[in-house]
């Protein structure tokens, strides 16, 4: 058994899990955070993407014990309170989801992607960067639109904040 201590969505949590327990199973079964999904078991589909210490990680590829001491953000912790995160809002506005199963991983990937491209995104980059996430419902058309829109919204928000600070 391994002792696992993490900060998840701003809360310190700890528990004991079988050594072979993957981070995704620790989140889902020990912490009840079932928003993170398992779609393929082989790190191909990206339904399990969470942020570990600020980076997008496939949580089915990491042991819970490996993540001990890290700060983890899951889909449940992406927005602060009642307001949706701009990426969540864009997925809704642009119909970027249908069955919803891949959606948490898509949104966590998109959030990371936008953060890594503060200069902005274009369609080809979004499509290339989505290589690790599979969606069977949408044909990606509206997911791409949603990510481009969220990227713009967040860039405007960042500029607004920079102006305020100045």
């Amino acid at each position: 058994m391994s002792d696992v201590s993490l900060t998840v969505n701003g809360r310190r949590v700890s528990g004991s899990a079988e050594d072979r327990t993957l981070l995704v199973h620790f989140l889902r079964e020990h912490l009840g955070l079932t928003g993170t999904h398992v779609g393929c078991d082989t790190s191909q589909c990206g339904a399990c993407v969470v942020h570990v210490d600020g980076r997008a990680v496939k949580s089915c590829t990491m042991l819970a014990a490996q993540a001990s001491g890290s700060t983890v953000v899951t889909i449940e912790g992406l927005s602060d309170g009642a307001e949706l995160h701009p990426v969540q809002a864009a997925f809704k506005e642009y119909h970027g989801l249908q069955c919803g199963f891949c959606t948490p991983g898509m949104i966590m990937t998109a959030t990371d992607m936008i953060a890594r491209h503060p200069q902005g995104l274009d369609e080809a980059t979004v499509r290339a960067e989505l290589d690790g996430n599979i969606c069977r419902c949408t044909g990606y058309h509206n997911i791409v639109k949603a990510i481009l829109a969220a990227s713009e919204t967040m860039a405007k928000g960042a500029k607004g904040k920079a102006k305020q600070a100045a």
Partner: protein, 782 residues
């Protein structure tokens, strides 16, 4: 159209939970005392089970039960069924071999379930499953349907000689042969429709809970039709009578047909829960899904299409061999027959059609409906034939299609269907305009200067949706009726719940169904809730597949709304002392037309429940139920155009543009409809370029993970240009035709027509991967 009513692009009500991690799928369910199951599956495609030894496994840590097919049979659990009877042309019924939920004497495909292990944790169950010792005697396997019907091939079931399940025909064989004989031109092709794995992103799962105190079962399952699951599990599998079995299909992560069927696992989990005394949860891993989900397509057809001197089609003759896998899945028999051969007239006037279909057992996973179900196979046959014929006849593909379009309605085809409405020229025109078809020659020349091969292909599809008139399908062998139900409950405060037998697993019913209610009564969309997926809450219903929820499910809601409206008007007329015929309901008010007399909607609802002042003899309450049985199929149709550019050095195909012009009849939410088309096209492009399920000669599935089976990813696809030009469907109250499958039906031939155009070849096998394209280019050069 209001901002939330019919025709509006309303953002989905259900999205909030999905984008915040609040969706509730079967794997998210936790029941006190719940344990975990793992299935031991056959590693062989064909073998006799000589011995099963579970002793070691039973002694493993955390193990609660290790159960076999013998015990299951001893408890009277029944075999799986196929719910649609097909008779061969000699009058004999289809030859169905037994399918036990856990194999007893013989296994027939890799993945056949043999033993269930229940343990405290999934890891422990997995460890114990590895300790189950099964002695097999391997038998020769057959995976190719065309080989399975040859004399001397391995026999999958004793019941079906030469593995032939049925040999069925539709249409006039003599007239067809005569027309071919006297034709000015005959186009002939062998057409293969590749085997696919549906791959909903949520793997199948089941949680069975037997409550001893109540002698009652609950099953949470990844189902597109929970009521049908309850009916079949009660009536055929003897799990429990319907009143003691509740089936819940909560949020379901995509289906595409693969979650229509009642599989062995949910039956076994329910039975194992009673047997072990604990709730039992099973969740497939992805490889298990590849092995055991029903696959799709897998047809081989020999086709002849005859033309007269004016390039008018005079006959179509199709001989198809359809691989149904190792067992007959729930609707497997109707897919290559009544959902396939009945659509072989396409959008065209064809005086004589004959289809012969042989269905065959092989040592592969069962094959059943996958998005489109028979209709993609029919469209692929027809639209590949039209393309090839146009090239042979030296006319443009568009011109050949136009010359043969059906232009007057209703139109009776020679293969059962009576098309009610459509405008095929309109969708062809719209697609050609959107694709700048006229500018293609220049684009091709420009690409050639860069050393690239450009091609363009079109596909004019039709499908039959709105499944289906119950008496019609009953006469054709269906074991069920295909109506739908709805209950509309107006609460005392005026909020509304709609209980529907349709099931949403991505289609957005919680929004579109609510839009209809908002349109009728002018109440805010937030005051309308759609309830589905639970047999304890919702009256019997038939579920969601075959693009039926718009045309049939919403029609049932409309019918129930009619009844509610009629009663509300009676109450209002009584309260306002007006004539019932003068009452109108709009913008949340119930008014007397042409006066300033009105009541807020909620006051009428409240009056119905207080019942202090109702018309004489009226029952209290405002709640109505309706069952809607369609009078005909609906016929969505459209035209798809694909333009590709191929790099001859690598064989890589890039889709430059993909245009869809569809006719779906009236539309409730265009945003959701477009999303359905996008997703369908992605699956169709996947079939054409990327996806293929491959077994080796021994029956081992070589494509059993996302490392081997190529799913379409974002950078494999372009943005799509979609539009609609709609002729309302005359057959249902809202004029809806259905839109869920069109994309997957219309797109594969458009892509392959474009690739063969670019390469200058007659045919190329799907999936046209870079390796296949590259090899084709090399073969053509030499």
């Amino acid at each position: 159209m209001g901002i939330e009513g019919v025709g509006a692009r309303v953002a989905r009500k259900e999205d909030k939970r999905f984008i915040t991690g609040g969706g509730r799928y079967v794997d998210d369910m936790v029941v006190p005392g719940m344990k975990h199951a793992v299935f031991v599956r056959s590693p062989h495609a064909h073998a006799q089970i000589k011995k099963i030894d579970v002793k070691k496994a039973q002694a493993m840590p955390g193990v609660i039960g290790v159960l076999t097919g013998k015990e299951l049979k001893a408890d009277g659990i029944g075999n799986l069924i196929c719910g649609w009877m097909i008779h061969s042309k000699d009058g004999t019924p289809m030859k169905m071999g037994a399918w036990s939920p856990l194999a007893v004497d013989k296994v027939r495909y890799v993945g056949d379930a043999v033993v269930i292990v229940v343990a405290d944790s999934k890891g422990q169950a997995r460890d114990a499953a590895e300790a189950v010792e099964i002695t097999y005697k391997e038998l020769k396997a057959v995976v190719d349907a065309t080989k399975a019907i040859q004399p001397g091939a391995p026999q999958v079931h004793a019941e079906a000689d030469n593995n032939l399940i049925f040999d069925w025909e539709l249409g006039d064989g003599k007239a067809t042969d005569a027309a071919i004989k006297s034709a000015a031109h005959v186009t002939r092709m062998k057409i293969v429709n590749n085997r696919l794995v549906p791959n909903a992103m949520e793997p199948r799962a089941a949680l069975g809970h037997y409550d001893k105190a109540e002698d009652h079962y609950t099953c949470w399952t990844t189902s597109q039709n929970p009521h049908l699951a309850r009916l079949v599990m009660s009536a055929f599998y003897n799990v429990a009578p319907e009143n003691k079995l509740r089936v819940i299909a909560p949020d379901v992560g995509g289906g595409f047909g693969s979650k229509i069927y009642i599989y062995p696992e949910e039956i076994v989990c329910l039975w194992a829960s009673k047997k072990t005394g604990v709730p039992v949860k099973w969740v497939a891993d992805r490889t298990e899904s590849f092995l055991s989900d029903a696959h799709g397509r897998d047809h081989v057809s020999t086709v002849e299409m005859a033309f007269d001197k004016e390039n008018r089609i005079t006959a179509l003759k199709v001989d198809t061999i359809a691989n149904l896998g190792a067992y007959m899945s729930l609707f497997s028999s109707c897919v290559p027959t009544y959902l396939y051969a009945t659509l072989l007239s396409g959008q065209y006037n064809i005086p004589a059609i004959h289809a012969n279909v042989r269905t065959v057992y092989t040592n592969t996973a069962p094959v059943d409906a996958y998005r489109g179900a028979g209709r993609p196979e029919a469209t692929y046959v027809l639209e590949r034939m039209m393309e090839t014929a146009a090239r042979e006849l030296g006319v443009s593909p568009a011109e050949l299609r136009r010359r043969n379009f059906i232009t007057s309605f209703p139109h009776q085809t020679p293969v059962i269907m009576a098309y009610d409405a459509g405008d095929y020229n309109a969708s062809l025109d719209a697609a050609m305009k959107a694709a700048d078809y006229a500018g293609f020659t220049k684009r091709r020349a420009d690409a050639a200067k860069q050393g690239k091969l450009r091609g363009i292909g079109m596909s004019c599809y039709i499908e039959a949706c709105g499944l289906a008139p119950s008496s019609a399908v009953g006469s054709l062998g269906a074991g069920v009726g295909l109506w739908e139900s709805a209950e509309v409950r107006v609460n005392a405060v005026g909020t509304i719940e709609v209980l529907t037998g349709s099931h949403s697993h991505g289609q957005g019913h919680e929004t579109t169904f609510a839009q209809l209610v908002t349109q009728r009564f002018g109440v805010p969309i937030d005051s309308v809730s759609i309830v589905h997926g639970d047999t304890d809450k919702v009256q019997m219903g038939m579920g969601t597949y075959g693009s039926r929820s718009g045309a049939v499910g919403i029609s049932a809601v409309a019918k129930a709304l009619d009844k509610v409206e009629a009663k509300a008007k009676k109450i209002a007329a009584h309260l306002l002392e007006a004539d019932e015929g003068d009452i109108v309901i709009e913008n949340g008010e119930v008014k007397v037309a042409g006066t300033d007399k009105s009541l807020p909607w909620f006051q009428v609802a409240l009056a119905s429940y207080t019942a202090h002042n109702l018309p004489a003899g009226m029952e209290p309450g405002l709640k109505e139920t309706a069952f809607y049985d369609p009078s005909n199929f609906t016929f969505p149709a459209g035209c798809y155009i694909c333009e590709v550019e191929i790099d001859p050095e690598t064989g890589l195909t890039e889709i430059i543009q993909f245009v869809a012009a569809d006719d779906f009849g009236n539309i409730i939410n265009p945003m959701i409809v477009e999303g359905q088309v996008h997703g369908g096209i992605a699956q169709g492009v996947g079939q054409a370029l990327l996806e293929g399920a491959h077994y080796d000669a021994n029956g081992q599935l070589l494509t059993a993970s996302y490392m081997d089976y190529t799913m379409p990813r974002a950078d494999d696809l372009p943005s799509f240009q979609v539009s609609t030009s709609n002729t309302p469907c005359p057959g249902n109250p809202l004029g809806i035709k259905g839109c869920g499958e069109a994309g997957a039906i219309g797109s594969p031939p458009a892509v392959i027509n474009a690739i063969t155009d670019a390469l200058g070849v007659v045919d190329i096998a799907m999936p046209a991967t870079p390796a296949t394209v590259w090899a084709t280019i090399r073969a053509t050069k030499h």
